[in-house]
Every structure is written in structure tokens, then in C-alpha cells.
Symmetry: C2
């Protein structure tokens, strides 16, 4: 079998915040791209994006767009993925989908390459990229789970507006300016563009990301809960999440309590596991005020972990602070890493 | 015994963010003030504050300042309280201290009037006002603890910069402006004015409030842990905290997991307890996107609770979102409410 090692790649949603990062990441990681096809909605078609120094016109995504495509990276919303991803697969492409459309489909692997690359082996054309806040959490906790077992996670998130797209960034800065100038603010997008009410994000904390479910949890919270179980393959793992949107441009932070299975494990034991973990950077030195922060993590590939300390009442309980760029490891980078893993495994050839 | 019902009141730290709110709150709640004496450091002495429409010159606080004072509200830092609060008591005043100086002193009651007013009975001249993030949490959880018992709290905070004083508010807005204008930001105060390193708070999340302790927790986190046990009088209560500073002017938010003692309690049972709780406003209707937020809580007296939902794996576990104005219930209001409780009990007369 000849590995042609050169792929026709489509990026669906190429003009969005994540789509742009996907193009940059394919280039930066030197992914073997033969041709690049940036696709978008009808509205954005005709605009241009840059890849390897060349301006390329964005085309409207249709089922026929995927003729001859080997790999399609989707990040244009769930409904686009639901209608076009199967069309891409029908035409022979492998789809890496960054929306929630197929994540909980039992036929679709949900993959963080450092955590569960073996799930790729069973793919049926579509591979889902997990939710941004899920990815960074499982990337940091999986090495601990492997070493000491994991029983329980309680996470509270501190999520950046870029997770809601480029327009949300504009809304935040525009409101900030209005507050500084003593003007009334206007909100028309956050917390959820498709929901009824919109609230000021500047100088505020909004405890809603995505729509509310009947059980009182938001969909974002249920994604963290369900996706974590699927990625780790451990349905008995207890996961609870509270997801909060904050006036931060890029970089999700997470305050995480986790309970391991093994007794007598020290903070230093956790350090030494994370120190060796792929894609994870330990930033933990209270004496030097060293801990991860969103403004430092933005633009970087790794998942940063700090503030690791033992619970004062529970020998198996620990607390930590996990930060990562939600557009990179949380989205574009993980998608390209999935594609790299597919190539490495000979599943994309 | 004649209740003179008219008190000579000193406010120490009258020019600070909390001190100003103390003056406003004494006036607004119609506390029976005969005379007001605003005190400050030498540096701020000579400036003027307004009380009941009258401009009053701020005097330098000295031991002699407290001659003839019945009630002294302190909010000028721990070292000022440590040196001057005993001097005020020596001269016959009752001190309500908003610093951490005496909070864990077994001789000093630590009081949230809705929670443990009976602790006032044993005072020896000084009563401590708890830490802002502790007050709002215990105010919301105490009615639940009384009704169903309480075993465990895991809290992650979303704290406003005004908790670090008026200069921190200026630093946040100045950095925000610089970021919007594409300039370099400067940090010289946050996260902790007395610590070695300072970080940008604008568009960031800093997982450090107050200095780090040897156990890896910050002093703010240890305050929440220890003060909660002291106020509830329950040393077996498990409390864990992660405290985070955010670019929000006023209004602390808290993501709280709590585990009650009783089995089979529903979210509706929690609702009906909080609905009747003094000083607590229930704001919880996911269908209407109703939940508390910092920008709405700022300037209001109550503790607001929403996002109440049962843990999906633990029948006794619940999650909620608690928001309050850190300068009011978190500081000035609670201090004045302590003074009101002292009057009501005949302890200040």
C-alpha cells in the first residue's frame, strides 16, 4: 500500500474563529496538505483566506464540494455538520467534526489523541472533536486516571468569549468600551446567540453557556459530563460541571476537584505524573506565584496545570487549575492532531 | 436601664471602598447615629466625606480618637485593627472589625447576623466581620444546613476587583483601556498588593487572592474554609475552596457544590427553604434564563442564589450559584447589621 502522504483537505467554516485557526494549524504543524479548500456558508463565500502565503477564495459548502476530498475539518455549527458531513463521507472523505452534532453517537469516536487514540480504529468516516472545555480537562486528568484511578470530577469553568465565535469577542470589547465611557451597554449575542435573552458580558460573569436542558443543567455542562465518560470509556466516573462565561478573549480556565481511587497519593506524586504527560505543561510554584492564566495560555498549544493541592479532608481528593487556549487545543489543534493520528495509524492514506 | 438609642460612631478607613459604603449604609439603614467620626491613616486625613448631606473632615486615627465612641467600625487593614481596635475597646467602644485580624481568635465572635447572632452574646469588645466570600456563602447555605444538615462544601469563586480596594478598580479599567487601544498593560497591584509579582487582571482570570500559605492554599481560601466552620460552629463540616480574581468591578459569584446529610431531598425542597430565608433572594428559572449575575447584584443588599440543581450521581449533592455585592453584604452592610443586632440584643446601649 502506498502512503500518498499528500491530502486534499477541506475546511468547513473557514472564515470563523476556529476555522481560521484550523488553516493556521494545518500550516504550522506542516500537515501534508496537497490542496486546501476553504468552505463556508453562502453568506461568507467569496471572501478570502490565506494558506501558506497564498490568498484563496472561500467557496460555498455544498455536497459536491467534497468530491476528491480526503479530509474535511468541520467547524460551522451543528446543523451544517449534520447535513454535509455524511455527504463528505459518502464521497470518500474522512470528517473531523468540531461541532456537537455526532459527539454522543455511539458509532462516532470522540477523540483527544493523547487520551484515546485507539477509539479512532473503529471510525465510520466521522470522528468528533470534543467540546473545548472537555478536551483540556481530560488531557490533564487522563494521566492521573491511568496512574491512580479516577472516581469523581467536580469542575467549575471560567470560559472565554472566543468560544462563542468572533462576534462574541467584538461584543465584549464594544461593551467594555461603553462601560469605560459611561455609556449604556447593548447585548445581542451572549450568553447564547439562539436563546431569548442576552446579557452584558463585560465586567460580568454569566452562569450559562449553551441552552438549558430539562434537568436544569446547560448543554455545555452536559457535554462536559457525557463527553468525559465517553472519552475515558468509564461510565461509572462521576462528573459534575458548572459552566460560566467570562469577559476573557481567549483561554478557558477550570477549577477542578478530582477524587482518585488510590489512597496515600501525595501532591508530588501528581506532579511527577503530569510532568511526564504529553501535551501538558505543569506550572505550579506558589512561592513564585507561578500558576497558569488565560492571557498566558492564549496562542499556546499545551494544556497548563497548576494550583495542585490535596483536599484538607479527603485523602483521595485534589484540587487544580487547568488552562488552555480554547481555539487551539480546545478546537483547531485537537482536530488537526486527530488528522495526524489518522495518518500515523494508516487510517488516512 | 435607659437605652440611649443614639450612638457616637467612628468609621476607621472612612476613605476606602468599604469605609465609604459603611457611611452610606449607616445612613441608609437609619442606624441611630448621634455623631459620626470618620478616621483614616495620616495620608488620607484632612480629606472630606459626606454623611447625611454634611461634609465632614476625616481625622487621623489614634488611640485617643476613640474617647467617647460607642461603636467603631474598622476597615483599614489588619495591622490598623491589631493596633487600634484594643485601644477603642479600652475606651469603652464596641468594635466591629472588617479585617482578618481577629477572625480566628477564639475570644472574638465571627458573625453573620442571619446565621449566628447568638455568638454576639459572648463578645469581649471586638466582633469580627467575616471575609466577603464567606459571608454570602454561609448566608445562602445556613438555612439549608438547618433544614437538611450539611456535610461538605466545594466552592470555586469568581471575585470582583473591588474586594482589593478602590485602586484595584482603577487598575482594571486602566488595563482594559490599554488592551482595547492595543497598548501594553501595566500591573502594579493585583493579585495581591503586598506580593512579589503582579499580573494583568483585564480579560484574565487570576487564581490567587491573598498570599499563599505553606499548604498550597491561599489565605483567602483558608479564610473561607476556617471561617465557615467557626460561623456554623461545625468543625466536622468539610470545606474546600478555590478563589479566583476576575475583571468584574463589584459582585462576587460562587459556584458551590454542597452535600447535605438527609436523603431524598429534591431541588424543590431546597427552593422552598431558600424562599423563606432572611437576606436571601432566590433567582432560579432556567426557562426564563433567570439566574444571579454580578452586574445585577452590585448595589443590592441581598444574597442571590440560582442554578440550583441536584448532582447527577449523588442523591445528597447539589450545585448552585451564589452572588452578592462584596462591598455590601460582603463587608459594609454585614458590619452595620452586626451593630443593629448588638442594639437589638441590648449589647450596645
Amino acid at each position: 500500500m502506498v502512503n500518498k502522504n499528500n491530502f486534499n483537505v477541506a475546511v468547513v467554516g473557514a472564515t470563523g474563529a476556529v476555522g481560521k485557526e484550523m488553516l493556521k494549524t494545518l500550516e504550522r504543524l506542516n500537515f501534508p496538505v496537497k490542496s486546501i479548500l476553504p468552505l463556508s456558508s453562502k453568506r461568507s463565500a467569496g471572501t478570502k483566506v490565506v494558506f501558506r502565503g497564498e490568498e484563496i477564495e472561500v467557496k460555498e459548502a455544498t455536497p459536491e464540494s467534497f468530491e476528491g476530498i480526503d479530509l474535511a475539518l468541520f467547524s460551522a455549527g451543528g446543523s451544517v455538520s449534520r447535513s454535509l458531513a455524511p455527504e463528505a463521507v459518502k464521497r470518500g472523505a474522512i470528517v473531523v467534526d468540531n461541532t456537537s452534532a455526532f459527539r454522543m453517537d455511539p458509532e462516532v469516536p470522540l477523540v483527544v489523541p493523547e487520551v484515546n487514540p485507539h477509539h479512532l480504529d473503529d471510525h465510520n468516516g466521522i470522528i468528533s472533536n470534543p467540546n473545548c472545555s472537555t478536551i483540556q480537562m481530560v488531557a490533564a486528568l487522563e494521566p492521573i486516571r491511568e496512574a491512580f484511578g479516577l472516581e469523581k470530577i467536580i469542575v467549575s469553568t471560567y470560559q472565554a468569549v472566543s468560544g462563542a465565535g468572533a462576534d462574541a469577542i467584538d461584543e465584549m470589547y464594544s461593551q467594555s468600551k461603553d462601560v469605560i465611557e459611561g455609556k449604556q451597554t447593548e447585548a445581542s449575542l451572549l450568553p447564547v446567540s439562539g436563546d431569548k435573552k442576552h446579557y452584558q458580558i463585560a465586567y460580568n460573569a454569566i452562569p450559562q453557556i449553551d441552552l438549558f436542558q430539562d434537568n436544569g443543567y446547560t448543554f455545555e455542562e452536559m457535554k462536559m459530563i457525557n463527553e468525559t465518560k465517553k472519552i475515558t470509556g468509564d461510565n461509572s466516573l462521576h462528573v459534575a460541571a458548572t459552566c460560566v462565561r467570562l469577559p476573557i478573549e481567549t483561554g478557558h480556565s477550570e477549577s477542578v476537584f478530582f477524587e482518585i481511587s488510590k489512597e496515600g497519593i501525595s501532591t508530588e506524586d501528581i506532579f511527577s505524573v503530569l510532568d511526564k504527560a504529553e501535551g501538558v505543561t505543569l506550572m505550579d510554584d506558589p512561592k513564585e506565584q507561578l500558576y497558569p492564566m488565560a492571557v498566558d495560555a492564549a496562542g499556546k498549544d499545551d494544556v497548563f496545570v497548576g494550583r495542585i493541592r490535596k483536599d484538607l479532608d479527603n485523602d483521595k481528593g485534589f484540587h487544580c487549575w487547568i488552562v488552555s487556549d480554547n481555539l487551539l487545543k480546545g478546537a483547531a489543534l485537537n482536530s488537526v492532531q486527530i488528522a495526524q493520528a489518522l495518518v500515523k495509524k494508516g487510517l488516512l492514506k
